[in-house]
């Protein structure tokens, strides 16, 4: 995947130290195609936001993947990621490391123009 989501497993192994728990919350229409309510995911420390999204795409299936990941393997433009209350800039998802117990949210951004 062009935005680094496909490289998740290898990257995770390379950086593997210990497992941390990330509480994932999905919003909006995503809750209709995924488990309702927040759920926990175990992740190796040093994993990035891109790693986490890739892991979720594997676990949550095609409906989630199509809704969040575009045809080039990057995030859809209308998807916003929030880590511990702060938005993750789109260009930063492969660099932003998750190094502690964290809250992570995926939010469809539905505006217009």
């Amino acid at each position: 995947m062009s935005d680094g989501l496909s490289d998740r497993q290898e990257t995770t192994k390379e950086r593997s130290h210990r497992a941390i728990t990330v509480t994932v919350k999905l919003s909006g229409f995503l809750t209709r195609i995924t488990p309702a309510g927040p759920f926990e995911v175990a992740l190796d420390t040093g994993s990035t936001v891109a790693d986490l999204v890739g892991l979720l795409a594997e676990r949550l299936g095609d409906g989630f993947r199509k809704a969040v990941i575009d045809r080039r393997g990057g995030l859809h433009g209308g998807i916003m990621l929030v880590l511990n209350g702060e938005p993750v800039p789109p260009r930063g998802i492969t660099e932003t490391a998750i190094d502690r117990e964290s809250d992570f949210a995926i939010i469809p951004v539905i505006d217009g123009g």
């Binding site: 809704a67 859809h76 433009g77 993750v88 469809p108 505006d111 217009g112 123009g113």
Partner: protein, 624 residues
């Protein structure tokens, strides 16, 4: 405020004191003050008594990112109500650099003219040689004629001259005051253009404060707007589609099989050749596209389509070819017609044709089927040239019942005569409530996108919390909590309108207060800005009351009380009784009369504009 009487050719300046500007700050408030005082109730929108007002704000022309917008307003020929639109670019900036906060255009010229504002020198010039020219060539010809290549030129193309009731005004080749037909008002006044340049930047009270704001924006915009830079406003098309809220085939469905090739990503990968911005903005959300294949040519001159245009000519007409959409966009821009209204008029006609509701002789030679690019473009050509069925549609949705019959007219989705923007009310019922209650007819800018407040992590929920909305409100619910959210956040977003600030900027009220203080030195508060936005909204509603509008026009089209036909929200409908019950609650929360739908006397006094109540009383539309 520069005042131009086109009937007499007289040019004067209206001076106002600080109290006036601090009452309104700019935008809608300035406009509607003038309209209430100067436009006679019941006047012909195309007549000399209508007044067209361009209004900047106290922030326009400063270095604050997102402050390049300007509003225009008049009695709308499309709705007969308060008409208003906004656009960015450079025109409003140059207007303020010339020393003016706005321009008031009254009367009607006997021959085509244009206005040239060159710092302190203002003159009306003959535009007979420009009449009939399209947008770009008009702008170029005027820059040549005045000998200033840096002049910003607001123009109308043939659409405005031909009085198409949804004609718009081009503030540049890429920036359009799109809605409510203000380009047709310019056409009726025979005002082809307003060219402007100035060299005097507005003084600011706190230059370091402005620098801090600019740095804050540069440090913070990417997290929320990064994909806006990369993909533009069409970034959300796949998400809208997955959510079941992508208007499809005239809002009958919420999901379109060809969505992917209409996405911002696809446009970026295929026809995008550049990105442009308004003055002092780092986001560069404006698209520049070029097409030269499959027999289609789209010039980069007019930029490229935004989300609304892509949905209007794309999914809502059943078309999945971004090149065709770009071509439709360019045709609209060349002629200055609003892409939202034009696309919606065409999708309404496609549905009528599918159901056999149009007279055969009227559609002869047109392939009016959803998905037919040539059919869509053929009807678009008829509209901009006012031929055949296009001539009828160019009059807008009002009055179609008499020309095409009641059943056909109902397929043209509109509120107060203005076609709907491309946001699905069955998914966003708060937006639907706003459509019904906006003084300009169906309108999406000073309105809410329900999903943006539906969780604690949602992008605008933090701002909602600062407005005392302490819990998220579910997207599809239509409850008193949603009405409260709509009222508070519509007033919040309307502050952007008063300050002529771009709605895409991630500013909350806190940042806007800082901006006004840094520019003016006034010790303002969020409360003061919110009251200015409520004042402007209430006065626009009062203008409509004076024109005879009541609750009868604050309605949603029947379509949205019927189940959505496809997509993730298939079967979703708004419950009619619930919608109108919530509308009553919104009237109450805003201090509006439940029958006359205008602000009550006490509310106008509370907002400090008791004179508006006297105006309403004179017109017999005030009960207490």
């Amino acid at each position: 405020m520069l005042r131009v009487d086109l009937t007499s050719g007289r040019i004067t300046v209206d001076e106002h004191d600080e109290h006036f500007y601090r009452t309104y700050f700019g935008g809608r408030g300035l406009i509607v003050d003038y309209l209430l005082r100067e436009v006679p109730p019941g006047c012909d929108a195309f007549g000399p008594d209508n007044v067209l007002v361009f209004a900047a704000s106290v922030l326009t022309g400063t270095a604050i990112p997102g402050s390049a917008r300007v509003s225009a307003g008049a009695k709308s020929p499309l709705t007969g109500a308060y008409g208003e639109g906004e656009a960015g670019g450079y025109w409003g900036v140059k207007l303020r650099w010339s020393g003016y906060d706005g321009v008031i255009i009254a009367g009607r010229s006997e021959r085509p003219v244009y206005l040239w504002i060159n710092n302190d020198t203002v003159e009306l010039r003959d535009a007979s040689n420009l009449w009939g020219k399209e947008t770009y060539e008009t702008q170029e010809a005027i820059r040549d004629e005045v000998g200033d290549r840096r002049a910003a030129v607001a123009v109308i193309g043939p659409g405005g001259e031909r009085l198409i009731r949804f004609a718009c005004i081009a503030l540049g080749p890429h920036n359009f005051v799109g809605r409510t037909g203000l380009g047709a008002v310019m056409g009726a006044k025979r005002l082809k253009a307003i060219a402007v340049n100035g060299k005097t930047r507005p003084e600011v009270a706190d230059k370091q404060g402005i620098t801090r704001i600019t740095r804050w924006l540069r440090d913070n915009y990417e997290a929320s707007l990064g994909t806006m830079t990369e993909m533009g406003t069409a970034r959300g098309v796949p998400v809208l589609n997955a959510a079941g809220g992508l208007p499809t085939r005239n809002f009958r469905e919420g999901s379109f099989e060809g969505y992917e090739t209409l996405s911002g990503r696809f446009m970026t990968d295929t026809i995008l050749v550049g990105r442009e911005s308004c003055y002092a903005c780092p986001v560069h959300c404006k698209r520049v596209v070029e097409v030269n294949e499959d027999g289609r040519t789209v010039s980069r001159r007019y930029g490229g389509p935004e989300y609304e245009t892509i949905s209007a000519f794309g999914s809502n007409c059943g078309i999945d070819d971004i090149k065709v959409v770009a071509q439709a966009n360019e045709i609209c821009d060349r002629h200055t017609v609003d892409t939202i209204s034009t696309g919606m008029m065409i999708s309404g006609a496609l549905e009528c044709a599918e159901e056999g509701l149009l007279p055969p002789d009227l559609i002869k030679g047109l392939d009016l089927r959803f998905g037919s690019a040539e059919g869509m473009l053929g009807l678009l050509d008829q509209i901009v040239n006012r031929k055949g069925l296009g001539d009828i549609l160019g009059e807008g949705p009002k009055g179609l019942e008499g020309k095409l019959g009641r059943e056909a007219a109902s397929r043209f989705l509109q509120i107060k005569g203005q076609p709907l923007p491309l946001h699905e009310p069955r998914w966003k019922p708060g937006m639907g409530l706003g459509y019904a209650l906006s003084p300009t007819g169906a309108e999406h800018m000073a309105n809410i996108h329900d999903p943006m407040y539906a969780s604690k992590e949602a992008p605008l929920f933090r701002e909602a919390q600062r407005m005392a909305i302490l819990e998220p409100v579910d997207t599809v619910e239509l409850t008193p909590a949603k009405v409260r959210l709509w009222v508070y956040m519509t007033l919040n977003k309307s502050v952007n309108n008063s300050l002529c600030i771009c709605s895409f900027m991630p500013y909350g009220l806190k940042q806007l207060v800082d901006q006004v203080e840094a520019v003016t030195g006034w010790n303002v508060s969020s409360w003061e800005l919110l009251k200015a936005s409520e004042r402007a909204l209430s006065m626009a509603r009062a203008f409509n009351g004076r024109e005879g509008f009541t609750t009868e026009q604050d309605v949603l089209p029947d379509r949205f009380f019927e189940p959505l036909g496809s997509g993730a929200l298939k079967g979703q409908a708004i419950e009619r009784g619930q919608f109108y019950e919530m509308r009553e609650l919104a009237y109450d929360m805003l201090g509006w009369d439940r029958q006359l739908a205008v602000p009550k006397r006490w509310k106008l006094h509370e907002l400090g504009v008791g004179w508006v109540a006297d105006e309403l009383e004179k017109s017999g539309c005030l009960t207490d």
